[in-house]
């Protein structure tokens, strides 16, 4: 018996490393707990769909299998996120990371883990303008645009509605601060007035004091640059309770079904923007994910699919799953020249790349990466009508 066990153990030990060597792993680091936990499961499914598609097409680099390893970024706890990234890289030996999600933890993982280990990260949703200028050794890319652009678009859609005075409440993290600042700059440049831009902390029971201050400053609408499952929701609740504001401007962090589920038609007329595009790829991905997800057009699902797809195409283009090789090819596969690639056509793209050809990956979000490795940015403008998010257009 004992001998048999030892024999069994020996076979397992001998067999294991060989299996790992063939397998390419991609880390998916998103905030599965924390203030955007209602968005992240769908985002992860988006990325895993891309990986499954490549797997079904026979894998990468001449038949190596690809798989995903999930890790929890928590969205807000930089130490926990760095620890998770460290674990994925050292223990699970991931080749590259699809993630992280929130700007603060993304910056932390980049500086503490990705750069020291030389691992490429493609974030689907970190939008802080500060990440454009962060030192990244060319390892960091994002399929989401910088909030410098989102701030400009938000300022435009507010002005177009004839609203000239707004108050801003932002969540006191990199994302909120960055977006609030870029919005204020654009809005004031366009002749609007920001009566007050004040921070709020996530996870409090009661936001009536914050709302009282915003109401004292006044404004025709309240811009809530926060998170839908946490403080942002609290701010809206307190505003509705006291009748301080009726119209809310909701940027991407607030674009969640959970918000309309909670407030329904009480926030009719509120509007906002989140990354999204009307390129043909978006519809293709929606039909691919229809059975799997309740809302396949949820924010950042397309960006997540694209981030994972870009990682794998760059590996194929460079002929190696090593981050040091693949980082040189991300921009090339994302942009022209080359054959345009939509979701569901990854197999074709891999074939072209294997044959030495070029691809221009369009994906589900109309990927167009500009220096220093971030999406140029296309936004979906939505308004809440009858308690539902309704798309008004794209820009």
């Amino acid at each position: 018996m004992k001998r048999m066990l030892i024999a069994l153990l020996a076979t397992m030990l001998a067999g294991a490393p060989a299996a790992i060597a063939d397998d390419i792993k991609i880390g998916i680091i998103l905030g599965f707990t924390g203030p955007i936990e209602s968005l992240t499961p769908d985002m992860a499914s988006g990325a895993e769909t891309a990986i499954a598609e490549v797997q079904a097409a026979g894998g990468l680099l001449g038949g190596q299998s690809v798989s995903a390893v999930r890790g929890d970024s928590t969205c807000i706890d930089s130490a926990a996120a760095s620890a998770v990234a460290e674990r994925l890289i050292t223990a699970d030996q991931v080749s590259a990371i699809m993630g992280a999600d929130c700007s603060g933890v993304t910056g932390a993982i980049l500086q503490n883990v990705a750069r020291p280990n030389g691992i490429v990260m493609i974030s689907p949703s970190a939008t802080s303008p500060a990440l454009s200028t962060a030192e990244d050794d060319n390892l960091f890319f994002r399929t989401a645009p910088s909030d410098a652009r989102q701030g400009q678009i938000m300022a435009d859609i507010i002005s177009e509605r004839g609203i000239t005075e707004v108050a801003v409440s932002y969540v006191n993290v990199d994302y909120g601060k960055g977006l609030a600042d870029s919005f204020q700059t654009s809005f004031e440049a366009g002749g609007g007035t920001v009566t007050l831009s004040s921070p709020h902390e996530d996870g409090k029971a009661d936001y009536s004091a914050e709302v009282a201050t915003l109401a004292a400053a006044g404004g025709d609408a309240l811009v809530v640059a926060g998170y839908a499952d946490s403080g942002g929701k609290g701010i809206i609740q307190a505003s509705l309770d006291t009748g301080a504001f009726d119209i809310f401007v909701l940027p991407d962090g607030m674009r969640a079904e959970s918000l309309t589920d909670a407030f329904g038609s009480a926030i009719n007329g509120s509007f906002g923007q989140s990354p999204g595009s009307e390129n043909p790829g978006a519809a293709v991905l929606v039909s691919m994910l229809e059975e799997q997800l309740d809302d396949p057009s949820a924010p950042f699902v397309a960006e997540s699919y694209d981030a994972a797809a870009l990682l794998m195409l760059a590996m194929q283009a460079g002929g190696s799953s090593n981050s040091q090789d693949l980082k040189e090819h991300v921009m090339a596969v994302a942009n022209a020249p080359g054959e345009q690639i939509l979701p569901g056509q990854l197999a074709m793209a891999l074939e072209i790349l294997a044959g030495g050809g070029e691809v221009d990956y369009q994906g589900a979000s109309g990927v167009e990466l500009i220096e220093p490795g971030e999406a140029a940015g296309s936004y979906r403008i939505e308004e809440i009508q009858d308690g539902k998010w309704t798309t008004l257009g794209y820009r």
Binding site: A209, T213, A217, G234, T242
Partner: protein
Amino acid sequence: MEAINALVLLGNYVIVPGIAYGSQLALAALGVSLIYGILRFSNFAHGDTMAFGAMVAVLLTSLAQSLGISIAPFPTAMLTLPFAIAGTVLLVIAFDFAVYRHFRSIRSSPVVFVIASTGVMFVMQGLIRFIVGPRDRDLGDGARFVVNAREFKAALGLEQGLSIKVSQSLTLGITIIAVLLLFWFLHRTRTGKAMRAFSDNEDLARLSGINPQTVVILAWTLSAALAATAGILYGLDKTFKPIIYFQLLLPTFAAAIVGGLGNPIGALAGGFVVAFSEICITYAFKRFLAYLLPENLEPTGLVQLLSTEYKFAISFFILVVVLLIRPTGIFAGRSS
């Protein structure tokens, strides 16, 4: 007209929320004060006792909702109040038997009790997270407003609206009832008088034939009932989340100490003093003054003494000032 607008504005953002928050703090502080009066230690587990009561209400509310039981327009949580109180009382008495009784029997010093209560607090926190988890839970259902800001504005033709939530009026009503009951009990019944006698002089009370065990159990029962009520009302008015009750501990103790630990009237007054200080000091009076002052004197800044992030600092500040200037509190309790 300007003056009425100013008054409504202040009512909406300061007076109504202040009264509701003050009542919740007063109920919580009464529980702390009672334990201090009878058992002579500061019960740090009080915040999580409140959380436990609210948690029972959350669980029973979802059970009642799934069975289709409701008392609309009142929130279902009100129906669960007696059960939540019963559950919390049982838990607290179980902790007394398991922990505090031992320290009483060996006549430990108060500081040992305080440390023990901190331990109990951690156990309770774990228990609550084990049962419902750390997330937000919505406790409120039924009608939301007694007076809706938008309708109020339209009906009276004012610029400012006043909103009074069902949870806020329930808070005030239940606090009044609970306090009247408590004072009637302490001053009019034989057992209540025995408790006060025990609080004034333990040895003398024992000599007069008052059973200390009964008094202790009663004190825990009253304190737990107050805690559960305060916890549910706070959860209804704001939101139920386990961690916020721990954060309430500081304002609660500030309230109890301002009024004078061990003094029920003091705890009541202290609750309102702390609540109104927190709200008034962080309120921006810009609009209010704009209504009252002549046009050329209108303030350009927010006229806010402290920004809202410093809310908790106010409780600390009040605590420090009271302990420095009048350590026994406004109503001369027994903090020695």
